[in-house]
């Protein structure tokens, strides 16, 4: 019951990591092409609006493909159940000023990660829906088209802010990054950041 400090434990499966890679690539392409379509001073640098638009549309339609792939991964479905559920200590963790101290024990995912997952899925679905309205715009009355554009524009700005935050958190935590890159994390990291999960996965 006292494994050495460099023991590593599995965190994400190969399937999960490939889904994360696919989704992050698509989202980055969507943010890039969206920025070109949306910000005049940026769009002018590359022009070719028709091509940029098609790349944005094709990438957007690949999002539901990835969402379906996610359902096929058993490990991801299990992680989604964990992300979905807030236990009472999660609220306490969010409110606490010492949430990194380990005083409040955290499961495989902390409350911030849970909220980020829900936000990501919710925003993807809303952006997909409003994007689809713009794609099939002739099927909708003007006020719906304008409304969809409004939601798509402002929500995507918020998504960019959250993506920057997500990348910033990863940038500051090499072990968390290794978890998504290689699939495993040091047990010592798990004990510090995800104590209850470490108890589950600690080699016996």
């Amino acid at each position: 019951m006292n494994p050495s400090s460099d023991t590593s434990v599995d965190r994400f499966t190969t399937g999960e990591r490939w889904i994360h890679r696919s989704l992050s690539t698509l989202v980055l392409v969507l943010i890039g092409t969206g920025a070109l379509l949306f910000i005049p001073d940026l769009g002018s640098l590359v022009g070719n609006r028709q091509i940029v638009r098609v790349v944005h549309e094709v990438s957007g339609w690949l999002i539901p493909v990835v969402l379906v792939l996610m359902l096929l991964s058993k490990a991801l479905r299990a992680d989604a159940s964990r992300l979905n559920r807030f236990r009472p200590s999660d609220w306490e963790w969010l409110r606490s000023s010492d949430r990194r101290s380990g005083r409040i024990r955290v499961g495989k995912f902390n409350a911030g990660q849970k909220l980020n997952a829900a936000w990501t899925l919710g925003s993807l679905l809303v952006l997909l829906g409003t994007g689809a309205i713009m794609f099939f715009s002739s099927a909708f009355p003007d006020f719906i088209r304008t409304g969809a554009t409004f939601v798509h524009d402002w929500l995507s700005l918020a998504v960019v802010v959250v993506v920057i935050g997500h990348v910033w958190m990863a940038y500051n935590d090499a072990s968390a990054r290794a978890g998504m890159r290689t699939g495993s994390v040091p047990l010592s990291w798990a004990e510090r950041e995800h104590a209850d999960w470490a108890d589950e996965v600690r080699p016996r």
């Binding site: 910000i39 002018s44 022009g47 559920r85 999660d90 409003t130 409304g147 554009t149």
Partner: protein
């Protein structure tokens, strides 16, 4: 895992469903909300609209790489085709023609509108009268020195009072992104008719569909009566 599942409430699902609900409400109310946002931005941070078009302002579309540019000295507007006097007009030549000013809205077919834009330039009708349109001319083909964009108008449409060969916006010479030094401004039609970086006007026998028109947009692009839209008329 077990304790998350057993003791937890499904907050994630509630967040996702809540966002879907808010998204749908935003779509339903977005037309009014975006007007409100534009008004607030215009009154508090007018510069924002040029950086983030969602805050209300022109969205800049180009169909080629970057913006085409030409020096004022090199610029020429060629008026050719079925005309008695083909012309090659410099900016000075255009400035010497009678100038027309108007303050009108700009309505894009994708839904955005910029209210009360001051424009000035030469009325297309004045230019065509100068060139002398031949009797077998029924339409005009406009070309841009971006090398790709084209537009069209019937002669009847072109001879209305509200079609401007514009050289200024907001009291300043046109900015490059708005089509400097010369663009068309077709008041009663969607913005794609108002070709930027205008370099050629050719009088022809029949309408040749323009860049977006061969890509599915209506040739007669009346605001509120084409492209399946019902926007308020431009005033």
């Amino acid at each position: 895992m077990t304790d998350d599942i057993k003791t937890g409430s499904p907050v994630g699902r509630r967040v996702v469903l809540g966002m879907l609900g808010l998204g749908a409400a935003g779509v339903a109310a977005g037309t009014w909300l975006s007007r409100g946002v534009s008004d607030v931005v215009a009154n508090t941070a007018p510069g924002l609209a040029s950086v983030i078009p969602a805050a209300g302002g022109f969205r800049i579309y180009t169909v080629t790489s970057g913006y085409p540019e030409v020096t004022a000295a090199d610029y020429r507007l060629e008026v050719s085709g079925l005309v008695d006097n083909p012309m090659s007009l410099s900016l000075a030549d255009l400035a010497a023609l009678p100038q027309t000013q108007m303050t009108k809205d700009f309505q894009c077919v994708t839904g955005w509108r910029v209210d009360d834009v001051p424009w000035s330039g030469v009325m297309l009708r004045d230019l065509l009268n100068e060139a002398g349109v031949a009797s077998d001319c029924e339409a005009l083909t406009f070309t841009s020195f971006d090398g790709a964009y084209t537009e069209s108008l019937t002669l009847e449409q072109a001879m209305q009072e509200d079609v401007l060969v514009a050289t200024t916006m907001f009291g300043q010479p046109l900015e490059v992104k708005h089509g400097a030094p010369v663009r068309l401004y077709v008041v009663p039609m969607y913005g794609y008719k108002s070709i930027k970086w205008l370099s050629g006007i050719e009088a022809v026998r029949s309408v040749e569909p323009g860049y977006w028109e061969v890509r599915g947009y209506d040739i007669d692009a009346w605001v509120g009566q084409s492209n399946g839209r019902s926007d308020e008329p431009v005033v």
